[in-house]
C-alpha cells in the first residue's frame, strides 16, 4: 500500500518540552553542568520518541465512512458510521480523531473514538454530523489525527472517504406564523363570538400537549391545571377552504441567496404548520405541483425544496388562480408573506 504522508504539528506541551530541552542542551554546552545534559536528553527523547510513535501509530489507520441516513434537516444531525481499522502489526491507535465535512461546506467537524484501536482490529464509530446546508450532498472524511502519545503533537494523516449523497432539507425558521396568516384572517369570518361558541360547545378534535407556536387562545387552562402541563384543545372545525400555495423562485423576487434560503426555511416551517392546521391542500413550486395529502407527498415536497434553485423569471404568473390560491411573496420585515392574486398583480404592476 502506498505510504501515506503524515503531518506533525507540535502542540503547546510539545513546544514546552522542546524548548526546555533545547535550552538545557545549550545551557549544558555553555556551562558544562551535567544535570542539564540529563534534562535535555530526557526531554528531547520524550519529544522525539513521541513523534516517532505518533507517526508509526497513525500509519496503519484506515478510515471509511458510511451513512444509512438518506435525509436530514439542515439544522439537524445526520448519523454516520465511521469504520476505523488499524492495520499496524504492533502499534495501537490511541484515541483517534476523524475530521468530517459536509460537501460544499468549509466547516470541519471532528469525531473521536474514545478508546484504543488495537493492532489488526477495527472499530465502528457511530457519530452524528451537524448539517448546515440545504441540498443533496455526501459527507466526507478529510483526515484522521491523534494527539498521542503525551499530547505533544498532532499527527495527521489524509483519509478520504465519503458517504452516499444525503438529502438535506432546509432548516426550520423561527417566525411569527400569525403575522403571515393575516391574509387568512381577512378571508374567514372568525370573530370572537364564534370562538367563544366553539370553546363552550367543546367539540374537540383532539387534546394534545402545547407545542411551541400554538396560539395561547387554544390552551385549555382548566385541563392544564389538572394535568400539570399545558394542554391544547384543537377545535373540531374544518376550514371550509383549503389553500393552494404558489412559490416562485425567480431572482426578481428573491434578490439575494440569503433571502432565498431564509424564504425556503420559512416555507419549510410554514407548510407543516399549515398541514397541522389542515388548511393546506397543495403547493406549487414554480410550475411543479405537489399535493400534500399524505406524508409521502410531504416528503416529496421537502426533497424538492432541498434541491430548488432560483430561476431567471417569474413562472407562476400564468398559473390559474382561484379564491384560495396564495402566493408566497417576499416581505420586507417578515421575510415572506402570503399574498392573493390581486395583490401579486398589483405588486408586479408596480
Amino acid at each position: 500500500m502506498k505510504a501515506q504522508k503524515i503531518a506533525l504539528a507540535t502542540r503547546d506541551p510539545g513546544w514546552l518540552c522542546l524548548s526546555l530541552g533545547a535550552g538545557a542542551a545549550i545551557g549544558f554546552l555553555i556551562l558544562r553542568i551535567e544535570i542539564l545534559a540529563l534534562i535535555s536528553s530526557m526531554l528531547l527523547a520524550c519529544v522525539f520518541a513521541s513523534r516517532i510513535f505518533a507517526k508509526s501509530c497513525l500509519k496503519g489507520l484506515r478510515v471509511s465512512v458510511s451513512s444509512n441516513c438518506l435525509r436530514a434537516r439542515a439544522d439537524g444531525k445526520a448519523s454516520v458510521q465511521l469504520q476505523l481499522v488499524n492495520e499496524n502489526r504492533l502499534l495501537p491507535v490511541i484515541y483517534p480523531l476523524v475530521d468530517l465535512q459536509e460537501e460544499g461546506q468549509r466547516h470541519l467537524q471532528s469525531a473521536r473514538y474514545q478508546g484504543i484501536v488495537l493492532p489488526g482490529k477495527g472499530v465502528s464509530l457511530p457519530t452524528g454530523i451537524a448539517m448546515h446546508a440545504r441540498g443533496i450532498h455526501p459527507i466526507r472524511t478529510i483526515s484522521a489525527y491523534s494527539h498521542f502519545p503525551f499530547g505533544f503533537q498532532e499527527a495527521r494523516v489524509e483519509a478520504k472517504s465519503q458517504t452516499e449523497p444525503v438529502i438535506v432539507w432546509p432548516s426550520q425558521a423561527q417566525f411569527n406564523l400569525d403575522a403571515i396568516f393575516r391574509e387568512r384572517r381577512s378571508l374567514t369570518s372568525y370573530n370572537n363570538g364564534d370562538r367563544r361558541k366553539a370553546s363552550e360547545t367543546f367539540d374537540a378534535l383532539r387534546i394534545r400537549e402545547y407545542a411551541p407556536g400554538d396560539s395561547r387562545r387554544l390552551v385549555n387552562w382548566k385541563l392544564s391545571a389538572k394535568l400539570d402541563t399545558l394542554i391544547v384543545v384543537e377545535p373540531r372545525q374544518t376550514p371550509e377552504e383549503l389553500y393552494d400555495l404558489h412559490l416562485d423562485t425567480a431572482e426578481f423576487l428573491w434578490s439575494s441567496p440569503i433571502r432565498f434560503e431564509r424564504m425556503l426555511s420559512m416555507v419549510a416551517t410554514l407548510v407543516p404548520e399549515m398541514l397541522r392546521r389542515r388548511c393546506l391542500r397543495s403547493i406549487t413550486i414554480n410550475q411543479d405541483y405537489y399535493p400534500l395529502a399524505s406524508q409521502a407527498q410531504f416528503v416529496r415536497f421537502s426533497d424538492a425544496l432541498s434541491a430548488v434553485q432560483t430561476t431567471k423569471k417569474i413562472q407562476t404568473e400564468s398559473l390559474s388562480s382561484s379564491k384560495n390560491t396564495l402566493w408566497i411573496m417576499p416581505h420586507r420585515k417578515l421575510g415572506i408573506t402570503l399574498a392573493s392574486k390581486p395583490q401579486v398583480e398589483k405588486a408586479s404592476a408596480r
Binding site: 506541551p13 544535570i35 534534562i39 536528553s41 530526557m42 520524550c46 480523531l97 467537524q109 473521536r112 484504543i116
Partner: protein
C-alpha cells in the same frame, strides 16, 4: 492512567501528576537547604491544602485568603529570618514585611499563573539579601548561594500550593519548569547520578502523564462519539491498555535519553578552544579534572603495591625462602622476623604491640581476641599441621562451649580432642586443651611473625604509597593547596591512648606554628638557633620550658609518625613529659611549643605522659611573650587598601568592641554561613592577597583558608593570632585504643591571645555537611589496608629498640601497658581459614570473622582463667625450631587479614561515611511510589467490593460485545433468537433493573455460541 477518583468522604485525593512533580522537588529542596524540618512542614501544609483545598474554596472568601496568607507568611518568615544576622536584630521587621507582602500578593493573586509570582518573590528576596549585605558588610555583593536556596524555597512553595492540580483542565507548565529548576539546584549539592536521574525523570513523567490525560479529555470543537460517554468508556476500554506499545515507548524514550546524554557528554567544552574563557567556567572544569586525577593518582600506586605483594608472595612460594626479603634488607629501621621471634621466644618482658582491651570474664559473646599472656608456662612446641589443626579445633570447641553451648563444638580429630567415651574429666580436658592450645599458640605466633616479616617494611611502603604530605608542614599556600594531598589516604600517624575513656571525639595534634604572612599564605619564622635542647631523663622528660603542666594526669599517648619531609613532631596542646624512642635529647621551641623531629629516622615513636586531649579551647599561659613577637602577631603586611578592607570587614562581622571570644565566634559563624566547607574552592585571580580575594568572593574553602582569613581579620581587629597546623584525627579504633591520621586529616586552626594573656585554641573551620564528607571519602582512594598494621609493627620495633635503654622500673612506672598481655586481633584467624592445610570440618567450628569486633572492653581478664573466651598465650613461650620456619607455609591469608582489619575499623572510625544521598533517594522512591501503589491497592479493593448491580451491568456489556461479534461472524445478526438475546443483554446493560439469573443464563448461551464458532473455525 487517570487521576484517582474522589473518595466519598469529600477529601479529594491528590492527582498522580501533582505527586510526581512535588515529591522530587521536595527531595531536591531538602537537599539544597538541608532544612528537613522546613521541608517536612511545607510538604505537610501543601499536601493538606491540596487535600482540603476544595473545602477551603467553600469557605468565605476572606477567611480563605486569610488562611492562605497566614500559611504563606509563616513559611516566608521561617525561611527568611535565619538569614538575618544577629547584629541587625533591630531590623527584623524587614524580612517579616517582605514575607508578608509576598504572602499577600500570593494569597490574593490566586489565579495567577505562578511563574510571575515566583519571579516576583525571588526578585524581592534577592533585593532583601543585597540590602542585608549593604547594611551588614557595607558591600554590594549578591549572595548567590543563599539566594539559590531561597529560590528553591519559593519554587517548592509555588509547586506545592498550585491550584491547578485540583480538578482542573490546566497544564502544569510552570510547576514543571520550577521542579526542573530545583532539580538543577539540587545537583550542585549532590553528586549522585541516581538522585539526579530521579529528580529529573519524575517531574517529566508527571508532566507527560498530565499532558496525556488532558489531551484525552479536553478537546476543542470535537464531537465525541457515543463511546465517549464515561460509563461506556469504562466498560469498553480494551483489556490490554497499550499492550507492548507502552513498553516499547518507554524503552524508546530511555534509549533516546541515554544516547542523547552520552552524545552530549562527548561534545568538547568550548572553554578548551577559547583563550580567555570566563574564570568560573574554566576553573570548574579544572577543578573536576583535578579531583578526577587525584583519585586516579591514589589508586594507581596502591595497585602497584598490591601487585608487588602478590609477586613477593609467589616468589616466596617458588623459592621456599620465607625471610629472604627482610633478611637481605638490613636497614636499621626494619626489624627482621627472626629478631621479633627471638624476642618473644626468649621471654623478654616487652610492651604490648597493640591491643590492651580484654573482655570481662564470663561474657556470653565470643571474643575474637587472643591474649598472649607473659606469665604462662613454657609449652612444648607442636608444629605438625595435623596436630595444629586438631588443637585449634579443641580450643575453639572449648571456647564455644563457654558461650553456653550455642554452637556445637566439632573437633576434627576425635582421638585427640574428643574421646569417644564421652565427656572428658575436667582436669584431663584442661590439660589436653592446654597442650593443644600451646601448640596452636606457637604456630599462630610464628605465622604472625612471618606475616609482619614477609611484608615490605615501612620505608618501602612509603615509596609505594603516594608521598604523604603531612599537614601543611612548611606553611600554607592559600591558592595552591594540593587537592591531591587533601585526598591522600596514606597513613601518616597513629596515636595510641592508654586510657580509652579519655579518647576525645577529635584528636588535635599540633605540628607547626605559622606566624608570618607571605604573598601566598603563611609560613613560620623560626630559625635553627631558636631551638633549645633538653635532655631526656631515664624515667621521663622533665617539663620542657614553655609547655604547660597538664591537667589530665592519666592520659598517656604513644604516637608513631611517618616523618616524610617534616621537621617537627605532632604534639598535643599540653603535656607533662615526652620520651622519644631511640633519642636521648630533644630540640624544642618554647614560644611555639613545638619539638624538632629526629633527623635520621623515617618513622618516630614517642610517648607522651599526661597529655590534655579533650579540652575544646586549650588555654596556655603566654608567660613571656616579647613585645616584638606580639607585634609580629599583629602585623598585616598588606597594601593599605586591603588592610582597610580587612579592618572594615572584621569590625562589621565581629564587632568593634566585642571581646576576643565573642569576636571569634562571630567570625566562625560568618564563615559557616558564607563560606561552606568544600574542596571545590575557587579563588578568582586578581592583584589582591589571595585571602582577601577569598573573603570577598565568598568562595568555598578548606581549613587553611579559614585559618588564614581568621588570622588576618583578628590581627586587623588587634587580636594577636597565629595559624597552627597539624592533624585532626577522628578515626578512632576503640578495640586498639588508637587514633589514626591520614594525610587527608591534615588540618589548620588558629591560636589567639585573649584578654588575660592566654593562648586560646580556636577551630575556625565550619563543620562540613555529610554530603561533602561523603564526597571526600568517595574521592579519596582507599587506604592501603596494610598501612595500619605496618605502622603498628614499626612502633613496636621502635619501642623494642628503646627498651634496653630504659630500666625495667621505668617502663613499669611510665606505662601501664608494659604489664599487659599481648592482644592479638582474632580476625587474624580469618586468614587461618584460608590455610590450605585446614580441613573443612575444623573450619566449621571456627568462630566467624563476622563477629562484632569493636566492643569496648576495658576490664582485664585474670590471666589464669582457662575458660575465658580469649586464648591467652604467654609471651615467654620458647621459639620453634629454626628448621620449621624454613618450611613454613607461605602466608596467603595476609590480605584477607588486612581486609578484615579495615572492615572492622570502618564502622567505628568513620561515622561520616554514612551517605545521606542514599537516605534521600530511598525517601524519594518511597514517597513517589508509595502513594500511587496505595491508591491502586485501594482501587483494586474497591473494585472487589463494587455493588453487584454494577458488576452485572459490566458483565452484560461484555456479553453484549461478544454476542455482537459472534453473530456477525456467524451471520446470525438477523436471527430472532440472538436478536432477543441481544435485546435482553442491552436491557440488562442499560436498563434500570438487573437480573442475575438471567445474565448467567445468557452467559451460558453466549458461551455455547462461542463454542460453535470455535468448532466451525476448526472445521
Amino acid at each position: 492512567m487517570s487521576s484517582p477518583a474522589p473518595s466519598p468522604d469529600g477529601i479529594r485525593p491528590v492527582p498522580y501528576a501533582y505527586w510526581m512533580l512535588f515529591v522530587p522537588a521536595l527531595a531536591a529542596f531538602s537537599l539544597v537547604t538541608s532544612n528537613y524540618w522546613m521541608a517536612g512542614a511545607i510538604s505537610v501544609a501543601t499536601v493538606s491544602l491540596q487535600l482540603l483545598g476544595h473545602k477551603l474554596d467553600h469557605l468565605h472568601h476572606r477567611l480563605e485568603t486569610a488562611t492562605r496568607w497566614l500559611l504563606i507568611s509563616g513559611a516566608y518568615a521561617l525561611a527568611l529570618l535565619p538569614r538575618w544576622p544577629g547584629e541587625l536584630s533591630d531590623h527584623h521587621w524587614l524580612p517579616l514585611v517582605l514575607g508578608s507582602a509576598v504572602a499577600i500578593a500570593s494569597a490574593t493573586l490566586k489565579q495567577s499563573l505562578g511563574l510571575g509570582r515566583a519571579t516576583l518573590s525571588m526578585v524581592a528576596i534577592g533585593a532583601l539579601l543585597i540590602a542585608r549585605n549593604l547594611v551588614a558588610a557595607r558591600e554590594f555583593v549578591f549572595p548567590m548561594e543563599e539566594w539559590l536556596g531561597l529560590a528553591a524555597f519559593v519554587a517548592i512553595l509555588e509547586i506545592g500550593r498550585s491550584r491547578r492540580y485540583r480538578n482542573s483542565s490546566d497544564t502544569l507548565d510552570v510547576e514543571f519548569s520550577l521542579s526542573l529548576g530545583i532539580a538543577i539546584l539540587a545537583s550542585f549539592h549532590n553528586n549522585s547520578p541516581i538522585f539526579a536521574a530521579l529528580t529529573v525523570a519524575m517531574p517529566i513523567a508527571g508532566y507527560l502523564l498530565r499532558s496525556h490525560t488532558l489531551s484525552k479529555t479536553v478537546e476543542d470543537l470535537v464531537r465525541f462519539s457515543e463511546t465517549a460517554l464515561p460509563e461506556l468508556d469504562r466498560t469498553r476500554r480494551p483489556a490490554r491498555y497499550l499492550g507492548g506499545a507502552a513498553a516499547a515507548l518507554a524503552s524508546c524514550v530511555t534509549l533516546f535519553s541515554f544516547v542523547g546524554y552520552l552524545a552530549l557528554l562527548q561534545v568538547p567544552s568550548w572553554t578548551d578552544y577559547v583563550k580567555d574563557a570566563p574564570y568560573l567556567l574554566r576553573s570548574t572544569g579544572e577543578k573536576v579534572q583535578s579531583i578526577a586525577e587525584t583519585t586516579e593518582l591514589d589508586t594507581e600506586p596502591l595497585k602497584g603495591l598490591a601487585n608487588k605483594i602478590r609477586q613477593t608472595d609467589s616468589q616466596t612460594e617458588r623459592t621456599g625462602k620465607v625471610n629472604t626479603i627482610s633478611k637481605d634488607r638490613a636497614s636499621p629501621n626494619s626489624a627482621p622476623a627472626t629478631e621479633l621471634r627471638t624476642a618473644i621466644g626468649e621471654g623478654e618482658t616487652r610492651q604490648s604491640p597493640t591491643r590492651k582491651s580484654v573482655p570481662a570474664h564470663g561474657d556470653k559473646t565470643r571474643q575474637n581476641v587472643i591474649v598472649l599472656q607473659p606469665e604462662s608456662p613454657v609449652d612444648e612446641a607442636i608444629a605438625t599441621p595435623d596436630r595444629w589443626t586438631a588443637s585449634q579445633g579443641a580450643i575453639f570447641g572449648q571456647s564455644t562451649s563457654a558461650t553456653g553451648g550455642q554452637s556445637e563444638s566439632r573437633p576434627a580429630t576425635p582421638s585427640i580432642a574428643d574421646p569417644p567415651e564421652g565427656p572428658v574429666p575436667a582436669t584431663e580436658q584442661s590439660e589436653q586443651q592446654h597442650d593443644n592450645s600451646t601448640a596452636f599458640r606457637s604456630e599462630l605466633r610464628r605465622m604472625l611473625a612471618e606475616s609482619i616479616d614477609l611484608t615490605i617494611d615501612l620505608p618501602e611502603l612509603a615509596d609505594h604509597d603516594p608521598q604523604p604530605v603531612p599537614g601543611f608542614g612548611g606553611g600554607i599556600v592559600i591558592e595552591e593547596t594540593s587537592r591531591a594531598a587533601s585526598l591522600s589516604p596514606s597513613l601518616v600517624l597513629t596515636a595510641k591512648l592508654d586510657n580509652p575513656d579519655a579518647a576525645p571525639g577529635r584528636l588535635y595534634l599540633r605540628y607547626n606554628v605559622l606566624d608570618t604572612l607571605t604573598p601566598y599564605g603563611f609560613i613560620d619564622s623560626r630559625r635553627e638557633t631558636d631551638f633549645e635542647t633538653a635532655e631526656l631523663g631515664p624515667r621521663a622528660t622533665p617539663a620542657i620550658k614553655g609547655f604547660k603542666t597538664s591537667r589530665s594526669a592519666d592520659t598517656n599517648l604513644t604516637i608513631t609518625v611517618v616523618l616524610g619531609d617534616s621537621q617537627t613532631l605532632p604534639l598535643p596542646d599540653s603535656f607533662e613529659s615526652i620520651r622519644i624512642a631511640g633519642g636521648s635529647q630533644v630540640l624544642y621551641h618554647a614560644k611555639d611549643r613545638i619539638i624538632k623531629a629526629p633527623q635520621d629516622q623515617q618513622t618516630v615513636t614517642y610517648q607522651i605522659a599526661a597529655a590534655d586531649l579533650d579540652v575544646e579551647s586549650q588555654e596556655q599561659e603566654a608567660a613571656s611573650l616579647s613585645s616584638e613577637y606580639r607585634q609580629k602577631l599583629l602585623s598585616v603586611p598588606l597594601p593599605p587598601k586591603e588592610r582597610a578592607y580587612l579592618k572594615r570587614r572584621a569590625e562589621s562581622i565581629g564587632g568593634r568592641r566585642t571581646d576576643s571570644a565573642r569576636f571569634a565566634k562571630r567570625i566562625a559563624s560568618y564563615f559557616a554561613a558564607r563560606h561552606p566547607y568544600s574542596l571545590d574552592f575557587a579563588i578568582p585571580p586578581g592583584d589582591e592577597h589571595p585571602t582577601v580575594r577569598w573573603l570577598k568572593e565568598q568562595s568555598d574553602g578548606i581549613c587553611s583558608h579559614y585559618a588564614a582569613a581568621f588570622t588576618l581579620l583578628a590581627r586587623s581587629r588587634g587580636i594577636p593570632t597565629r595559624v597552627v597546623t597539624g592533624f585532626s584525627a577522628t578515626e578512632y579504633d576503640a578495640t586498639s585504643g588508637r587514633f589514626s591520621a591520614m594525610a587527608l586529616d591534615a588540618h589548620a586552626w588558629i591560636e589567639y591571645l585573649d584578654e588575660s594573656n592566654r593562648w586560646i585554641r580556636f577551630e575556625t573551620t565550619p563543620p562540613a555537611s555529610l554530603e561533602v564528607l561523603a564526597r571526600f571519602r568517595n574521592a579519596a582512594a582507599e587506604r592501603s589496608p596494610l598501612a595500619g598494621e605496618l605502622l603498628v609493627a614499626q612502633e613496636e620495633k621502635n619501642l623494642d629498640t628503646v627498651q634496653p635503654q630504659a630500666p625495667a622500673e621505668t617502663s613499669e612506672a611510665t606505662s601501664p601497658v608494659s604489664k599487659e598481655p599481648i592482644v592479638i586481633d582474632y580476625d587474624f584467624l580469618a586468614k587461618v581459614k584460608t590455610m590450605p592445610d585446614l580441613s573443612p570440618t575444623q573450619t566449621d567450628s571456627l568462630p566467624g570473622p563476622q563477629q562484632p569486633e569493636n566492643e569496648e572492653t576495658n576490664e582485664e581478664t585474670p590471666a589464669s582463667k582457662p575458660t575465658a573466651s580469649k586464648i591467652e598465650v604467654p609471651s615467654s613461650i620458647p621459639d620453634e625450631p629454626k628448621a620449621e620456619e624454613e618450611t613454613a607455609t607461605p602466608i596467603r591469608g595476609l590480605p584477607a587479614s588486612a581486609e578484615t582489619e579495615t572492615e572492622t575499623r570502618a564502622p567505628v572510625s568513620n561515622p561520616s561515611s554514612f551517605n545521606a544521598n542514599t537516605l534521600i533517594i530511598c525517601l524519594l522512591l518511597i514517597l513517589a511510589l508509595g502513594y500511587p501503589i496505595m491508591s491502586f491497592a485501594k482501587k483494586a479493593k474497591e473494585s472487589l467490593n463494587t455493588p453487584t448491580k454494577q458488576r452485572l451491568r459490566a458483565k452484560a456489556g461484555q456479553l453484549l460485545r461478544e454476542v455482537e461479534e459472534l453473530t456477525r461472524q456467524l451471520n446470525l445478526t438477523e436471527d430472532p433468537v440472538w436478536a432477543e438475546v441481544r435485546a435482553s443483554l442491552t436491557a440488562q446493560r442499560y436498563g434500570p433493573a438487573t437480573n442475575k439469573p438471567l445474565v448467567e443464563d445468557l452467559a451460558v448461551k453466549v458461551a455455547l455460541l462461542a463454542k460453535a464458532q470455535k468448532k466451525r473455525r476448526n472445521v
